[in-house]
Amino acid sequence: MVDWSGVHSITISMHEGMLLLAFIAVAVRFIVNITPKIPVAGWLFSEEFLQKTARVSETVAFIAGLGGTIGIVASAITGTILSTPRGIVVSNLVSNKVMLSLFALVFWVDFLAIRLKYGDERIWSNRVLQFFYPLTALIGFSLVTVAGSLGGTLAGKESVIDFVFTYLGIRKNDSWILPPITEFSRIVVNSPLQYLGDVSSMLQIVVALNIIIIALVLIYVGVSSKSKE
């Protein structure tokens, strides 16, 4: 019998390690990018050293970011095996952890999308992207760290960053869902939608509609990209 909690710990360690590496590499690349603008840096680092560091750190950031993003998905799969969809919302701690992990995933996918779309040269020579690209990595990594801290508390252990929560007065067991969203959801649930009828037949209609919408979108994207060519 496979111990899924052990497998979950392994996947978490792997994706957190890879994302830490990606974040450090991006930070190094960012520092290398701004170093020539600092007057003293000219005689501290040679041009060749800076170029080599930039090339290596950029490659490491992309590969580690890709591995870490795949790792978050793997951790989500092993985590879902450990719990049930119902179990996620029963505990505030678990729902907060899953929510932050998903937001972190969005930021890391964004990080990879920017890198794939614009490429190394264009990102680091652009005035906006050279700050925005490392910023996505910073936010993504911070979210992974906070989610990891919640996971530590869930496992009954203390976290290294617990003092931050204490200092900011944030309680991990509180619901982190914003009040307007809770209120909006309550209004939706109390709306006439609840009397629409049989759930299973409606579910089939909604899923079918979604498949049609996704198919239409894919056709539209395909047609418009072909017309650009």
């Binding site: 779309k117 959801s185 509609l209």
Partner: protein, 72 residues
């Protein structure tokens, strides 16, 4: 806006609407609030990221074109 981003936005919005419909029928406000926060958050993050990158690169593109014109 690029067609890829419009496609992503339409898919996210359709999923958001569907989730709201299904959860309303199943009468689950807690699960719906949680899912709404994730979906609305994802839409906002994608939108902000798209706008920042699009405007950032458009300005740079304009500058490059101006430079090319000056050279010519």
């Amino acid at each position: 806006m690029s067609s890829n981003f419009i496609g992503l936005l339409i898919i996210l919005l359709s999923v958001l609407t569907s989730v709201n419909m299904i959860m309303a029928m199943r009468n689950e406000p807690a699960l719906l609030a949680w899912l709404n926060q994730i979906l609305i958050g994802t839409i906002l993050i994608s939108l902000v990221s798209y706008l920042v990158t699009a405007f950032g690169t458009r300005k740079a593109g304009k500058r490059e074109t101006e430079r090319e014109k000056e050279h010519a």
